[in-house]
Symmetry: C2
Subunit: 396 residues, 2 copies
């Protein structure tokens, strides 16, 4: 009667959702301040005042039938021009509005890009740990999802394993730096190595392999580590961007796909992007938000709170004795589970009112993810609970 | 290298887009006031002041991280509750927020609903003339698109043909009343007959056949004709709604899917809707717009201008001698082509600066569509051109 695939997807609540629901109930029981909820990657800082100011001005000054009218499918031309200019200035790469497609956020950017390129029998590689929806998006496009584990000690690309995983069916590789769920940034030297490997494989198989850079966390970097801009290193690349985190606008669904002009047959690729957007039911990205972000391209929400949170949490946890993967950016931290089964570790942490996400769904068992986009005070108070949890294991 | 299907979709510009581009160039040549452009269904009236007022208040009074934060996937619960209550009051049918899924507009409503139910081998029926994207959306879901022609004289359902077109593979029927492109409303007696036929076929084949009501033009009715509310007549029904036309917010992409509580296994169906939304990359509908429309459920843009336009154009054209299908609603009118090939008619009309859309892409050759969501003055001035066109044919 129904699409079994969609029914399963709709019914299977993710572990994160399960933890979130547990947290909701628990907070009602013992008070919101007593639950150390690190489960959700929801920006905790407001959008910059500039966003509100621009929105107010647009509403006051633009005729409603223009402001809220359809833009063209790929987005308003002035908006796309502003973004292209901004990309050129920021990253010193070529960019044209004709290769920028405005989307309803990062998830739409990915599904549209994947549907534009994928055909039956294709394989799409993602590095584990990965954002769990990658699997959903890749499989919906008709391709096979191929996770490639990172090195267990630093969660960086394992190039030997990657090389073995690339086949003549590999259509694309997804790179996500800063990474959700680990906060890890892929260093420039590894991006160079990745580009070289993909170029070599393209030659070997006589076909294109696309590199899709999913980078909603680009602006959330706290260590001085450089986030390499993929089109500067590899020709056949897409940038899938979203303003959800940089401008704290996750509910508004606004982002874009940038098809690198260095891509082979880039205008055909862009046409396929437009076709995919059309087929998936995306008519245009929300118009008020298109106009708004186009005036805020050099703004970011005040992310200093994430920086402070990261410092307190990282130092606090390592002082206690936890093994933490160096978290360069985003607002996530990956911590080694104190027992093999991270799900059991998560259950035990709950006794200390700590809500951590076991890493199995991220394709990388043995860790928990901490989303530290929460109150700084809560982080400070949580350290005692982490200490008790640690000692509970020592006393086993 | 690319998805050939998506590349084709992206490259094949629709006739409407082609006419729009021609119009843009022509307007630059001879002045915008001298081109009678009836090609685009873009609301010409502004959103009601209430929409702007609510938006301003929400921005002023709601913390930005809440207003622009993620809502749950199906949408904010308070918003969905308000919509459910509104449906109950307006249409006297049962409705619960648990069966309402907020979407990024009508196209998203349709693609998500179709993907929730369609499996390989399924067939989905739409009545011709139909909105051309129906074919795209149905085929993307994996089903076969089955157009069923309406009666040529009034463009109402041809029940004999419909009955012959329903097979054991029929998964759904799409109904669109008021209709784009014809402006025709399906009378209540035909909805009753349709429900009876589908119930009979469900019994015969021992399976569900869904009725999907695509009704963005529900509020645009000018003849007193009643628009039957499908869930009141048929159990296994979806309502796919959008605020694009009623509130003149087409660029903002906001609408919903309502799964009728009378549907078999409605909560499973709703889960499949959630799964499909997830797979297609819809994280949530734009948050500011969700909150805004929830306070404007009984408002509509001032559609009296469409009513006036309709009257002038309908009377003017029939006076000249054109055959016009009775246009009850939406802002479209279907006029019989003065020669068999509507594309040739469209070309000849261009000589008189009339931009009309030939009906072939709507699956119903021999007509042109006029979108009369334009300035009333332009309509008045266009009548002379229509007269000259008519006489040009008489003099053949």
């Amino acid at each position: 009667m129904l699409s079994q695939k969609m029914l399963e997807l709709g019914k299977k609540s993710s572990v994160i959702r399960e933890i979130f629901e547990y947290g909701r109930v628990r907070k009602a029981e013992i008070g919101v301040e007593n639950v150390f909820d690190f489960s959700l990657g929801n920006p905790s800082v407001p959008a910059p005042q500039k966003v509100t100011d621009v929105m107010n001005r647009l509403i006051a000054e633009t005729p409603a039938e223009v402001l809220h009218g359809y833009t063209s499918g790929p987005g308003d031309l002035k908006v796309r021009t502003a973004i292209a200019e901004n990309i050129k200035t920021k990253f010193q790469v070529e960019a044209t509005p004709g290769l920028i497609y405005m989307t309803c956020g990062a998830a739409a950017s990915l599904t549209i890009a994947l549907n534009a390129i994928a055909e039956e029998g294709d394989e799409v590689i993602a590095f584990a740990p990965f954002f769990p929806e990658y699997r959903v998006f890749v499989e919906q496009s008709g391709a096979k999802f191929v996770p490639v584990s990172c090195k267990n000690d630093d969660l960086q690309i394992d190039f030997d394993l990657l090389e073995k995983s690339i086949t003549p069916n590999t259509k694309a590789v997804i790179i996500n730096s800063p990474n959700n769920p680990s906060g890890v940034i892929v260093p420039e030297k590894d991006v160079i190595k990745l580009a070289a490997l993909l170029n070599e494989k393209q030659k070997e198989y006589g076909k294109e392999i696309f590199l899709i850079s999913d980078e909603p966390y680009r602006e959330l970097v706290f260590t001085g580590e450089k986030v390499a801009y993929i089109p500067a290193y590899y020709d056949n690349s897409f940038v899938c961007y979203s303003y959800s985190k940089a401008l704290s606008l996750p509910g508004e669904r606004i982002g874009y796909i940038f098809v690198s002009p260095t891509m082979k047959d880039s205008s055909d690729v862009f046409a396929a992007v437009c076709g995919a957007g059309r087929a998936l039911g995306y008519v245009c990205a929300p118009s008020l938000m298109q106009y708004t972000i186009s005036e805020c391209l050099n703004n970011t929400a005040d992310v200093s709170v994430y920086e402070e949170n990261r410092k307190i949490l990282y130092e606090g946890l390592t002082d206690i004795g936890y093994t933490v993967i160096k978290p360069d950016g985003a607002f996530y931290m990956f911590v080694k589970s104190l027992e093999e089964d991270a799900y059991k570790f998560y259950e035990r942490a709950k006794k200390f009112e700590l809500l951590l996400v076991p890493s199995d769904d991220f394709g990388c068992p043995g860790f928990v993810r901490l989303a530290y986009c929460v109150d700084t005070d809560l982080i400070k108070r949580s350290l005692n609970a982490f200490k008790e949890l640690y000692e509970d294991y020592k006393n086993d």
